[in-house]
Symmetry: C2
């Protein structure tokens, strides 16, 4: 499998964690978002949406959208499980993930911040926008997190929730959010960062890291 | 089941369609977003994220996030299926849905448009932002749609893709997008609108419609 991504993209980062947790080797194909490489004709032929990540399978099939890719991984390689076995538990983990994947990350990605700048936001206003979006998303997650002494967001092993949380905390720090306001989330992140699957997925460890 | 929602919320609309397709009766509990009722303490006790929809089950369990709710419905009431049976097909339908649920809708919802206004966007600029976001999202969907003569987005019966498409086309029209640019999507919408499950879910048919 080839993972088309960018070291700093939170959505690519999620898929890297999931592939690592499932023990699946993959080849990294970097596309430099700040240089607009995701809009190059060669890449648009792979993903017409012009976004990373895209997972290219051995037979040339291409899957897009981080959450759809991770659900596909879960369906085709069920172990170790990234979702609970009970339907209500699965709905809760997915809701936590979507609070980041839908309600947070798309509002602060590079393309949207560039759009805001083009429409009159100063650099400081764009950075503040991104910081506020991240802080709101993390506050929602802190509220959605179960009251439990389990090491990970939803239990004794990492789930889709942890996979989405860790990269978003990375973004939040990059935009200057005081993440110490979210001690419960930080405890979950610390548990994740003891696992090689999470460590190997960090942006700084990617071949295209700057 | 009680569906906490708002007649015009595209996310609530998606869940209404899914409940109708599954043949599940539910009670509508409206929360008027323009009056900020989703931030009332009573509602925050139901959904701390302060967003609609929320599905309240008979035992008081509350599920949030439209996509998580629909996945839960699919897992607990598999017939009629809203996702294909093959894993690649499921990934494609989910990717199409996420192009709207994650990359489009959150960028143009009421809360975000209000934030943009508070940060200096004129009314015209906010409306233009929403129109552009909708047009981009629909263009992505047109590209992701399979080349097929099937009546619905991904085959002979409506799927999660159609459930997300129809409300987004409603939003796009509301923001003045020339949806005639997307003839293939309009053909799918027309097929959906022959089905009572889609008709009954339309905003104008809801008890809180204005």
């Amino acid at each position: 499998m080839k993972l088309h991504g960018y070291f700093r993209s939170a959505a690519s980062w999620r898929v890297r964690i999931a592939l690592n947790l499932k023990g699946l080797p993959y080849k990294t194909v970097p596309h430099h978002l700040r240089r607009g490489e995701q809009r190059a004709p060669d890449y648009l032929a792979i993903n017409p949406q012009g976004l990373v990540p895209a997972l290219e399978l051995g037979d040339g099939t291409v899957l897009t959208q981080s959450l759809a890719i991770i659900e596909w991984l879960e369906e085709t390689r069920p172990s170790p499980a990234l979702l609970p076995l009970d339907a209500i538990g699965r709905a809760r983990v997915r809701a936590f993930a979507l609070a980041l994947v839908a309600d947070t990350h798309p509002l602060q990605n590079l393309g949207v911040l560039n759009q805001l700048r083009e429409r009159g936001f100063s650099e400081a206003a764009a950075e503040q926008w991104a910081a506020d979006v991240n802080a709101n998303g993390l506050a929602a997650c802190e509220a959605l997190l179960p009251r439990s002494s389990a090491p990970f967001c939803f239990g004794a092993s990492p789930s889709l929730a942890d996979i989405c949380l860790v990269p978003q905390l990375g973004n939040a720090r990059r935009f200057g959010v005081d993440v110490a306001r979210f001690p419960r989330l930080l405890a979950k992140e610390a548990a994740c960062n003891t696992l090689p699957a999470f460590v190997a997925a960090m942006p700084a460890r990617q071949p295209d890291a700057e």
